[in-house]
């Protein structure tokens, strides 16, 4: 499938992206007018959330393809993307909660996007646990595919319900996680970091899919060995 060349290329690009992202995030972009320096965490938090939504979208698409065509490659991508999605979501929530501490004085507030992301994290942790518990690989893949599809379809509904629920409690305050102003150089920092994390996601995906391919290769070798 994708050879080692692509993996190495993505790896190098990801590193370059992350370094420039750090540079723009810390030095190039000015501190936020309202939130001050702490807003720089957003250059980590926002890209992580957006890329994890993308990762779960990839799970959604490859799960449908797996149910339709039953080819191992789609399952390998779905499983890998879900795993990376869970990692990115967990880190995003950690960053968001660390951001909340100085800003709101508490580690956790029921902010709409933070809550939605946490629910998504729970759903896909369930996905990974389900995959780990089912011993027959093809059944595990099928169950995963179904849960991946339903989990992703649930996202818009979760978001709407949480946003409605939130607005009932606290009118949208300026201090919500996310760039409060749209100053151009801040946007540069945001988009550089976003590109960096997309590359990182690609790198992890290729690397993790190669692990899945090796696992299937091992099963196939055992098949031939025993045949």
């Amino acid at each position: 499938m994708i050879g080692r060349g692509l993996e190495r290329a993505l790896g190098i690009l990801a590193v370059i992206g992350l370094v420039t992202g750090l540079y723009t995030g810390f030095l190039y972009a000015p501190p936020d007018a309202v939130q001050g320096e702490v807003q720089r965490i957003m250059y980590l938090h926002v890209p992580l959330i957006l890329v994890s939504y993308f990762a779960f979208f990839v799970v959604f698409v490859t799960s449908i393809l797996y149910l339709a065509r039953r080819c191992e490659r789609h399952d390998a991508i779905a499983h890998s993307s879900a795993e990376i999605g869970v990692l990115f979501t967990a880190l995003a929530i950690a960053a968001g909660s660390i951001w909340g501490r100085p800003t709101w004085g508490t580690w956790w507030t029921w902010d709409a996007r933070l809550t939605t992301t946490t629910i998504l994290l729970l759903i896909f942790i369930g996905y990974l646990m389900l995959r780990a518990l089912v011993d027959d690989p093809s059944r595990g893949a099928t169950f995963g595919a179904v849960l991946g599809i339903i989990g992703f379809l649930d996202v818009p509904i979760i978001h709407m319900s949480v946003v409605w629920w939130r607005t009932l409690h606290q009118p949208a305050s300026v201090l919500r996680p996310g760039p409060s102003t749209v100053a151009p150089d801040m946007q540069v920092a945001l988009y550089t970091n976003l590109a960096a994390f997309v590359l990182l996601y690609g790198y992890f995906l290729v690397k993790r899919v190669r692990l899945e391919k090796a696992r299937w290769e091992l099963i196939r070798l055992r098949m031939e060995g025993a045949a």
Binding site: A95, I98, T103
Partner: protein, 60 residues
Amino acid sequence: MGADPAEDGGGGVNPWPYILAAYLLAAVGLLCYLLSVSRRTKAMVAQIATLRRFSKDTMR
């Protein structure tokens, strides 16, 4: 449903330890995942190599 904390606007608190904490945590998390994936892959590739050598011996 849960009282909302007073918003102190992050004025007096020194934000830098929090910023560093967030970035460090992310770096550590990503690195650990990278190491775990490559470790698992190495182990798998080693198993495949031994299995292939084993089947090559029986084939001769």
